[in-house]
Point group: C2
Chain length 213, copies 2
Amino acid sequence: MTTRRTGLREQKKQATREALREAALRLALTHGPENVRVDDIAEAAGVSPRTYNNYFSSREQAIVAAVTAEREARVAAAVAARPVGEGLADAVVEAIVAQYTDPGEHHRDALLLITTRPALRDAFVDTAGAIEDPLADAIAQRLGDTDSYTPRVLAASVAAATRVALRQWASPMTSGLVVLSGSLPDLLRTALAPLAPALDAAEQRARQHSRSE
Amino acid sequence: MTTRRTGLREQKKQATREALREAALRLALTHGPENVRVDDIAEAAGVSPRTYNNYFSSREQAIVAAVTAEREARVAAAVAARPVGEGLADAVVEAIVAQYTDPGEHHRDALLLITTRPALRDAFVDTAGAIEDPLADAIAQRLGDTDSYTPRVLAASVAAATRVALRQWASPMTSGLVVLSGSLPDLLRTALAPLAPALDAAEQRARQHSRSE
DNA sequence: AACGAAAAGTGCGTGCACGCAACTTTGCGT
DNA sequence: ACGCAAAGTTGCGTGCACGCACTTTTCGTT
């Protein structure tokens, strides 16, 4: 046994996953989300309805996945790729902002749809939780701390702050008195700022720890 | 109009809610969670199945609620009740630990059941999210900061750290090599510790701000 | 090349969540 | 005391999530 997760299998699996989420988004855009049934998505993707449910556990999840696909892995990779001289707080913030910054906006209409419907909005906000585990690994790597809860707590907090920013960004900008939400990168920086002291403190402790042993 | 949320209505509502969660827990304990249908819970509580679903959106939620009822409000109240001289980080940590520390363990068997079944375990861990909004209000109160995202981000982070602690505590203590999880208060303090710098820094900023205006 | 185990896909059946549209209860204003 | 508006309850119908058992596909091994 060499590498479990070998080629053709995983490849087809990813193809099916992509076909499903693309079909879900396309149908949601053309007919409106509430007029798309699971069977339609499955049929459009060429699989059985039961198989659809092996990949996504809700219609909203499938639709939103077309926009947020693989973001969790990219965030973790982005953190790992940051220069070692950079502080942990900056590294995390920049990595997240980069991944949520819009690259040309292929999905402009999709995002409009998502922010419009509450159910999709919720599903979209919840995707922030997916970065938690990969991010915890990346932070643990940076801190050289693989056996305490600190990386997990920090990653969970970062994910939580990201959720706050996403919810604000996607929320109907309460018309009357309140300001209309700024750009997503600005919101993310603002939401993540309060966590910087915690991230930096963890880094300090990690340094001291590695120096003393 | 004085106090919306007047007496008899809300009273009955709470009574129904309590009847439902008590019934759910009792039936789950006697017959096992997977042998309890929604209709059974509703019937035992004396309401229609449809009404059950107006209160809880899953069987697991109802069962777990019997143990975690009103915890969110109590956490917020506990934070508010802490002496003003105390640092924010200490206030929050002590408030949470106090609310999750077991008062006599009425629910010992219930907790055993919850930690045993994965579905119940997940629902239990998720209840930590409920403290987010009330805690945000309490923190905003303490900081005198009602218009920035900081309280919401801090509250969300605290909730996230709490989730980490709960998950660890309720997790099957992977038999073999890994240590068995410590007491819940200890776990909570450990999980919340990395956030102390962020909480204290926010408090510092709040003080400076109020001094300069 | 053939075989056997593991993994992915499928069909079926069951219980459930939730929108909707009555209907009943509560409580405030007069 | 009365009546109306708001809040809560209920039954119905629809689509869905998911466990289970079975078929098909993939892939390492001999």
